[in-house]
């Protein structure tokens, strides 16, 4: 179970390989990469700055990953989240979950993304042709996280 919060880019394929390396009990590897889009809510995005809360960010991500580990029978998990200035096409976040079976790996991976969106202290500021603006939290993200509470 690994959580990394970093400025640097990451290589999803290399991270997936490293998580599976040397094990023969992995039947399923579900992963997610979030990227910066050149347009958001109809506005052009030239750059995006991700602010975070050092210390709490790592603790919040570790808590989310542990919750996933209690809910599903999975083997290991990796979360990498970047901060700092990013450009369209840049990777923001990686979540990889490995397990014996696909259903639990998929569920845990999506759960981690949904909770991360509403629980991890990151904030996005976009540079658009009209100037800079802070991205508003989406109610759809709250809804996505809430469905796991049933």
């Amino acid at each position: 179970m690994t959580v990394r919060v970093q400025r640097e880019n990451f290589d999803p394929g290399a991270e997936m390989d490293a998580l599976c390396a040397g094990r023969l009990d992995v039947g399923a590897c579900a992963s997610f990469v979030g990227l910066v889009r050149a347009a958001n809510d109809g506005r052009g995005v030239a750059a995006m700055t991700l602010e975070h809360y050092p210390g709490m960010t790592e603790a919040a991500l570790e808590d989310i990953v542990q919750q996933a580990g209690r809910r599903w029978n999975i083997l290991d998990t990796l979360v990498i989240h970047r901060y700092g200035e990013l450009r369209p096409g840049d990777r923001i976040v990686l979540v990889v979950v490995i397990g014996a079976h696909r259903g639990e790996a998929f569920a845990a991976c999506e759960f981690i993304m949904d909770y991360l969106k509403t629980q991890a202290p990151f904030w996005k500021k976009e540079s658009t042709p009209d100037g800079q603006r802070w991205v508003e939290a989406k109610t759809s993200d709250d809804d996505a996280a809430a469905r796991w509470r049933e």
Binding site: E51, Y53, A60, V93, A120, P121, F122, W123, W134, A137
Partner: protein, 86 residues
């Protein structure tokens, strides 16, 4: 006996207050995160954002809290808008 806390502000709130952090001796009667928020808003001007910003979040010692979360000497209290990572 005074209680001192460290207060952090993030993102849009940090910019509105033009301040990232401060140390504060809690005035008598300010013993929860909610009371601290009201106290800070009472400074007026930009500080009114602490009550006017919709869905402002608070964390105490790096864990999400609420208005009732109690404060103790040496605590780290953070105020910030809803998060938007991922």
């Amino acid at each position: 006996m005074s209680m001192t806390v460290k207060i952090l502000y993030f993102a849009a709130l940090r910019e509105r207050l033009d301040r990232a952090e401060e140390r504060l001796d809690l005035p008598p009667g300010v013993a929860t995160a909610g009371a601290l928020r009201a106290h800070l808003a009472g400074r007026g001007g930009a500080w009114e954002a602490l009550t006017s910003v919709r869905n402002l979040r608070v964390a105490v010692n790096q864990r999400m809290g609420g208005a009732d979360t109690p404060l103790a000497d040496g605590d780290e209290v953070a105020f910030f808008p809803p998060v938007t990572g991922g």
